[in-house]
């Protein structure tokens, strides 16, 4: 963060300058929000009921659905219930470092403003992320995006100076409903100009956000105003269109879900927004390298790498959707889900007709595209979901080193002795394979997670990068906090064969 800028903002705030600076705007926003909270404490029930009635009156016959969803969708439910804002409260211990409140977090409004929430849809869950609050002003949903540097943790032990929106990368999810008029203010607190392009949204050309082509750039310190109508439901993205090479490599991107005015049937119980990206940060460095074109070494779901990715927790039998949006600088990601076949029901171009939907277990999400996959969660278990490019499930793996695989044992001993005499602490690596490298406990550069995996119920999960877990459980009772590891039914876990089993089946080893 730019400390001098913060100081300047703080001093401006102190003298109550009439010139509305960025920080003053934020302060006001916080006050508004806090007032909302205080007012909400007493008037909450009445207000929400009234709004819900208003919203649902015209077109919806889903009152029961909406009500049950409000009760069961944990983050939003708890927020509307006036509890402590939920998203950061249910982080795993591994995320403790990342969850440390920063000054930015203290002034960012909670995930859902209790006054201005829209009850016509089931809000999407953003693992490791947030949804952008809005305010209704004369029938227009008003949002405020702040493009700015952010301190970002990929997982415990790995923090970088990134760029994002409203304190995070990816930027918060923007949710709206088909036909909504939206006004989105964009404040630029970056050291350089930016714009916001509303990727795949059909809108007036002058709102398309391409620097130089459809607008002049938003210079540092300026706030621009975009206004348009979401004509169709769909899954979209937003990202800069000025120096996007730098700004997207640093993390500036976000997703948008526009819910259908008339919800699809059968109803969707739970949906997740997952932004796919990739980064280059050398072990020990602390800023993503925008010059990288090939050797990306951190591949992320919502800018997080496993073991820093929050699991996707669902109740058995729920119909779920996963919205993937890929804004990786150079790569496409074949996202593979274990335990299920799914159908890809939409792209950022719109819904796919049922006749064209094919069953699949891997969805190739090209860069600059969205894929929405749907399934019914009817298999209990902890199911891996990851990019199937094997190098995309590695953390900070280097590629410019000798391949020692298969080197003879006595050779390794000899080399360890010979090189160890020259470089104390040296040890030959990966001659027998690379599994569990992170457990060797060799000292590595500070702020790095080379070959890092995560703890699992049966030992190390030797994965990193674009890897997460779909946890399907029964009887969650609406509590979507991480339920822990799956308790496998007796006799359903692979194990070592016993000698008697081997001989009974005629297997000789």
């Amino acid at each position: 963060m730019d400390q001098s800028k913060k100081d300047r903002d703080a001093s401006l705030g102190a003298v109550e300058s009439v010139e509305p600076t960025d920080s003053l705007a934020v302060v006001r926003e916080v006050r508004t929000s806090r007032r909302g909270w205080l007012a909400g404490a007493s008037a909450l029930a009445a207000a929400t009921l009234a709004k819900r009635a208003l919203a649902q009156a015209p077109a919806h016959d889903h009152a029961a659905h909406a009500a049950s969803a409000t009760a069961s969708e944990s983050p939003t439910a708890r927020a509307t219930g006036g509890e402590t804002p939920a998203p950061r409260a249910r982080r795993s211990p591994a995320d403790a470092a990342a969850a440390r409140p920063t000054p930015r977090e203290l002034i960012v409004p909670p995930q859902f403003d209790p006054i201005d929430r829209d009850d016509r849809y089931v809000p999407a869950v953003v693992p490791n992320g947030r949804t952008l609050p809005f305010r209704m002003v004369n029938g227009v949903k008003v949002f405020h995006l702040i493009a700015e540097p952010v301190r970002h943790a990929f997982c415990e032990g790995m923090e970088v100076e990134a760029w994002g929106y409203n304190g995070t990368t990816p930027g918060p999810l923007i949710e709206a409903v088909e036909g909504d008029r939206v006004r989105i203010y964009v404040t630029n607190r970056l050291p350089e100009a930016t714009t916001v392009h509303w990727h795949a949204v059909i809108l007036e050309a002058g709102m398309d956000g391409v620097g130089g082509l459809t607008q002049r750039n938003i210079e540092p310190g300026e706030t621009f105003r975009y206004e348009f109508t979401f004509r169709s439901a769909g899954t979209y993205m937003y990202h800069p269109h000025w120096d996007e090479m730098t700004q997207m490599a640093l993390g500036m991107m976000g997703m948008m879900i526009v819910h259908p005015r008339r919800p699809a049937t059968p109803r969707i119980d739970r949906q997740f927004a997952l932004m796919l990206s990739e980064w280059q940060v050398r072990p020990g460095a602390a800023r993503p390298n925008p010059l990288a074109m090939n050797d990306f070494n951190l591949v992320t779901f919502n800018s997080r790498v496993f073991p820093g990715t929050e699991p996707l927790v669902v109740e058995k039998g729920q119909r779920i959707r996963m919205h993937f949006g890929n804004l990786s600088p150079m790569d496409h990601h074949p996202v593979h889900l274990h335990g299920y076949a799914f159908r890809t029901v939409a792209t950022d171009g719109g819904p796919i007709p049922p006749s064209a939907q094919v069953p699949d277990t891997t969805s190739l999400v090209p860069t600059g595209a969205c894929r929405v996959v749907e399934l019914v969660a009817d298999h209990l278990g902890d199911w891996a979901m990851h990019c199937h490019m094997t190098h995309h499930v590695m953390n900070q793996m280097g590629h410019d080193l000798e391949n020692t695989l298969g080197m003879a044992r006595d050779r390794v001993r000899q080399l360890d002795r010979r090189i160890g005499a020259q470089v104390p602490g040296y040890m030959t690596m990966m001659q027998d394979g690379m599994g569990g490298m992170s457990e060797m406990g060799m000292p590595t550069p500070g702020n790095s997670i080379p070959m890092r995996g995560g703890a699992g119920p049966f030992g190390l999960i030797d994965m990193g990068g674009m890897f997460t877990i779909l946890k399907v459980r029964q009887g969650l009772g609406g509590n979507y906090a991480d339920p822990g590891w799956f308790a496998h039914p007796e006799g359903t876990v692979a194990r070592a064969a016993t000698p008697s089993e081997l001989s009974a089946d005629g297997i000789e080893v």
């Binding site: 000798e402 005499a421 470089v423 040296y426 000292p443 550069p445 080379p450």
Partner: protein, 460 residues
């Protein structure tokens, strides 16, 4: 060369041994060269020297051996006896002359006439003490020069010793480079055995390894030549050359530089200036002698005995005086005065050189000390950090073994710079200590790139 007893009597109590003792007394204590001793040509190596050679040899032991065994130094010391002999020669007057003349008659049978004459150069007896004082000054100058030669020799031994130790340490760094490249080569060999790299990778590493062995051979040669230089300085040959070098270049201790008194100390102690002063004294006396000789004509005296034909003896004195009509003696006297003036100018020039040598030695020392400190406190840690960080990156699989070993060789490069800096520190310090002990250094060993070390004139 032995001095004849008769000659010793004639020149009083000046003996060869006493001259050597006087020479030794001139040597400053801190130079640690008091053990210098005379030794007959082809004399066996002393028990002490054998004892010193039997254990790992350090610089002081090398100096101690050289002070008693170096033929070059012994030749310098023997030269003292030549000066002593000159003194004897000059102290003796011209010998008396005996003349016998016989005259035989052509006719008759008269006895032959005989004339016997014993003649002296009287004025020689007068000048003898003067000549002796001149020779005494020249002997004193010779003693000073001999003491200076002892210091020169000890300095040469110490310099050669430092350079040998440095050569040995530099050779060891190349051993490490060879070991590193050998590890790189063996790694690629093992990778090829595993089927992971083509022969090219092995060939490249092998070539680098063999190249490093060539460099090592040169370093080994430098060590061997460094030992040979010491053998010459110490006068060792045959079995005596099997000695073992003790340890590395020492870590420098603090040397207190008395900045204000450096020049005056060098001047006070200067053997060159002292020798020149004795020479000036001798020249002044010679000039006085020649002027006296010019003023007082040469006087001969003789006793003459004569026998005539009848066999009667007559006895009588003869006195002769040289008439300074043509050779007045003025020429040699004026030449002596002129030569004295020449040498007085030389003395002034020498004093300027001694002062400059003290300052130059100080500059070299201060710079060498700073360079050593920089290399040890900045450069070495910087390279160590590169290696440490490289190991972390290697552990993080972000960097390969070959690159890691390259970082290690870069550190060796810094270690070589540290050895050279420590060597130059000691060379500069030896030079400074030598100048402060009263002896200028011919051809400084502290090399300055882009600067030709001027040869300081020895003044003799």
């Amino acid at each position: 060369m032995r001095i004849e007893p008769l000659a010793l009597l004639l020149v009083g109590c000046v003996s060869s041994a006493a001259t050597f003792d006087d020479t030794r007394a001139l040597l400053p204590r801190e130079a640690q060269v008091q053990t210098v001793a005379r030794r007959a040509p082809a004399e066996e190596l002393s028990a002490r020297a054998r004892q010193l050679l039997a254990r790992p040899l350090d610089a002081q032991a090398a100096v101690e051996i050289a002070l008693v065994t170096s033929p070059a130094l012994q030749a310098e010391l023997a030269g003292l006896d030549v000066a002593l002999a000159d003194l004897i020669t000059m102290s003796r007057p011209t010998n008396p002359e005996l003349e016998v003349e016989a005259m035989f008659a052509r006719e008759g049978d008269e006895e032959p006439e005989l004339t016997i004459e014993l003649g002296f150069v009287l004025s020689d007896l007068l000048y003898a003490p003067l000549r002796r004082r001149i020779a005494g000054e020249e002997l004193a100058a010779a003693r000073v020069n001999a003491a200076g030669a002892v210091l020169d020799h000890a300095y040469a031994v110490r310099v050669a010793f430092v350079e040998l130790q440095a050569a040995q340490m530099l050779k060891q760094t190349l051993d490490a480079v060879v070991a590193s490249l050998r590890a790189s080569w063996e790694l690629t060999e093992a990778l090829r055995e595993a089927g992971n790299v083509p022969g090219l990778d092995v060939a490249q590493q092998y070539a680098l390894y063999e190249e490093s062995r060539l460099a090592l051979a040169q370093a080994e040669l430098a060590v061997a030549l460094g030992r040979e230089r010491l053998h010459v300085l110490l006068g060792l040959a045959g079995e005596e050359t099997g000695w073992e070098l003790a340890g590395d270049l020492p870590v420098p201790d603090e040397l207190a530089l008395e900045e204000d008194s450096l020049e005056s100390r060098a001047l006070d102690r200067s053997f060159e200036l002292l020798a020149q002063r004795h020479r000036l004294e001798a020249l002044a006396r010679r000039s006085g002698l020649l002027r006296s000789m010019a003023a007082i004509p040469e006087v001969h005296a003789a006793l003459s005995a004569e026998r005539n034909g009848e066999g009667a003896w007559a006895l009588g004195p003869v006195v002769g005086v040289q008439l300074p009509v043509f050779a007045t003696g003025q020429g040699p006297a004026r030449a002596a005065v002129a030569k004295l003036e020449v040498e007085q100018h030389r003395y002034a020039e020498l004093a300027v050189r001694v002062r400059s040598a003290a300052r130059a030695a100080r500059h070299r020392f201060v710079t060498a000390r700073e360079r050593l400190s920089f290399v040890e406190t900045t450069l070495l840690p910087a390279r160590q950090a590169v290696l440490a960080e490289s190991l972390l990156q290697y552990n993080a699989m972000a960097l390969g073994v070959l690159t890691l070993l390259q970082a290690q060789r870069d550190l060796i490069g810094a270690q070589r710079a540290a050895v050279e800096a420590r060597r130059d520190y000691w060379l500069a310090r030896l030079e400074l200590e030598q100048v402060l002990a009263g002896r200028m250094v011919e051809g400084s060993r502290v090399e300055v790139p882009g600067f030709e070390n001027a040869e300081p004139a020895g003044g003799h």
